[in-house]
């Protein structure tokens, strides 16, 4: 599994973030909080941006080499195909967990400062919602990424998932009055995790057959 971690590290290095990532994160968080304090609606926009960042960052390793992914490079390195797949998942889920966690921290701080605007429970749900969104966004397109790489088909699936999830979340929030939100939410998160876990064998299978 050490090799999978190395693959995840390689993926991370395709992001080419100039400044230390934690400094960047910290700076962004401060800006968000300040803006939110001044105008709450900004917060919703910020959440939207976070959703966008979390989903697109994960794709970078797959088009970082002139629309080709790092998989060509990895083929020349001492790692097996299984390790590559695990490494990609590790990277994607890892990055998104960090983003979701960060969102939660910011939301929690804001909630602490303005508990009426944003109760802590809602802050938690927003962060969890982001994580769920991200997990589905890895679970569904990844097998296709593994199968055909970064192509229009993959992008299509990717966009499709985003649309579906957004519709789904709206649907759920409408439905939310009938069920206890945390109960529904619990199922949704569990579903996302199951989807993610289920997508791994498919990715492994398709990637093992892939021609690079």
């Amino acid at each position: 599994m050490r090799n999978s971690v190395k693959v995840a590290q390689l993926d991370l290095r395709t992001l080419q973030i100039k400044f230390p990532w934690w400094a960047l994160l910290l700076a962004t968080d401060v800006v968000i909080l300040v803006l939110a304090m001044l105008n709450f609606d900004v917060f919703a926009i910020i959440v939207g941006i976070v959703f966008g960042a979390g989903s697109s960052l994960v794709m970078v390793p797959f088009y970082s080499n002139q629309q080709r992914g790092v998989d060509g490079l990895l083929a020349a390195l001492p790692v097996t195909r299984r390790q590559v797949v695990f490494g990609h998942y590790l990277f994607a889920v890892g990055v998104q967990c960090v983003i979701a966690l960060n969102l939660f921290v910011v939301a929690a701080i804001y909630s602490f400062l303005r508990p009426d605007d944003l109760p802590l429970s809602v802050a938690a749900m927003v962060a969890l919602g982001a994580l769920t969104f991200f997990l589905v966004l890895v679970a569904v397109p990844f097998p296709f990424l593994m199968r055909v790489g970064y192509s229009s088909a993959t992008i299509g699936i990717y966009t499709g998932v985003i649309v579906l999830v957004v519709i789904g979340l709206n649907f759920l929030s409408a439905l939310g009055d009938n069920f206890s939100p945390s109960f529904t939410f619990g199922w949704v998160v569990a579903g996302a995790v199951a989807l993610l876990v289920g997508s791994v064998p498919l990715s492994l299978h398709w990637y093992s057959k892939r021609e690079l």
């Binding site: 190395k6 490079l73 020349a76």
Partner: protein, 288 residues
């Protein structure tokens, strides 16, 4: 000397194209040149050796490993520079260095920087901003910097100016000098590289036309030239790739067949370029 690579009946079937069966081997301490026209299957062959695609039939034994998984784990002992193994667009030389160091236990950073310097690559420029030739140099430098027993290069001379090509030849010969390392390279630029290739694998349309010592292939054919009047029907039958002009003709022929030719014809040895040109003409003529 043991073989670093043994290939037996390697075959890959695609819908419109079949590669193989190919059978060849590379002993330690030698250079194998792969030649053939575009689309002949040279790159596909290299990809099969690297398990980037799975063969339909046949076996590959590389550095002693016979299965894709074993080969994958031992890949630190193979140096690779293909079109598709390039680096992420945003990376600079230092990023390549640290990434390779992460994966390759024998990574020699000093050697890498030495080669980068030798090739004159701008260290601070992002990979995507480098010219194709310079990108190729970076790939090459990386492939040669971890003491890999076998180095596999796809068209390394493409996009290189004559000076860089000369540097490349010198580097490759130095690389095999200790008799423990070997190089496989595919190339169109047969001139320079043909002289240093000990063995040659000649592929046309997916078929293996020849594998063996370069000298053997070159000894097998001669070029026959003469004035227009000298071109007889028998000559035409014996020869390949006939080229007729207003001032004369030339064709390629098996050396034995050229032993009893009438006087007045010029007979010359072939080089790899001529071989590919005349053979290519013959294949074209057949197709028409």
């Amino acid at each position: 000397m043991a073989d670093l690579l043994t290939v037996k009946d390697l075959t890959k079937k695609y819908q419109e194209f079949t590669l193989g069966p190919l059978s060849f081997n590379v002993p330690a301490g030698y250079i194998l040149g792969m030649i053939g026209p575009n689309g002949a299957g040279k790159t596909t062959t290299l990809r099969l050796l690297l398990d980037m695609a799975a063969p339909t039939a046949g076996t590959v034994t590389l550095n002693g490993d016979t299965t894709p998984t074993a080969r994958a784990l031992a890949r630190a002992d193979v140096g690779v520079a293909l079109d598709t193994t390039g680096f992420p667009e945003s990376w600079r030389v230092a990023d390549v260095d640290s990434a390779m160091a992460l994966f390759l236990p024998n990574w020699d950073a000093a050697r890498f920087h030495e080669l980068i310097q030798l090739f004159g690559v701008a260290k601070k420029t992002a990979y995507k901003k480098l010219s194709r030739g310079t990108q190729a140099k970076v790939n090459l430098a990386a492939a040669l910097s971890h003491d890999a027993k076998l180095v596999i290069l796809d068209e390394p001379a493409a996009g290189l100016d004559p000076i860089a090509r000369d540097q490349l030849m010198t580097l490759l010969q130095a690389y095999i000098e200790d008799g423990q390392h070997s190089v496989i390279l595919s190339s169109h630029i047969t001139g320079d590289l043909a002289r240093i290739a000990d063995y040659v694998l000649y592929i046309v349309g997916g078929h293996q036309l020849f594998f063996g010592e370069t000298a053997t292939l070159l000894d097998r054919y001669v070029l026959v030239k003469g004035g227009r009047g000298k071109l007889t029907p028998e000559l035409k039958k014996l020869g390949l790739g006939l080229r007729e002009t207003a001032v004369g003709f030339s064709l390629m022929m098996r050396t034995e067949a050229a032993r009893n030719l009438p006087a007045g014809l010029t007979i010359e040895p072939v080089d790899l370029d001529a071989l590919m040109i005349y053979y290519g003409k013959e294949v074209q003529a057949d197709a028409q």
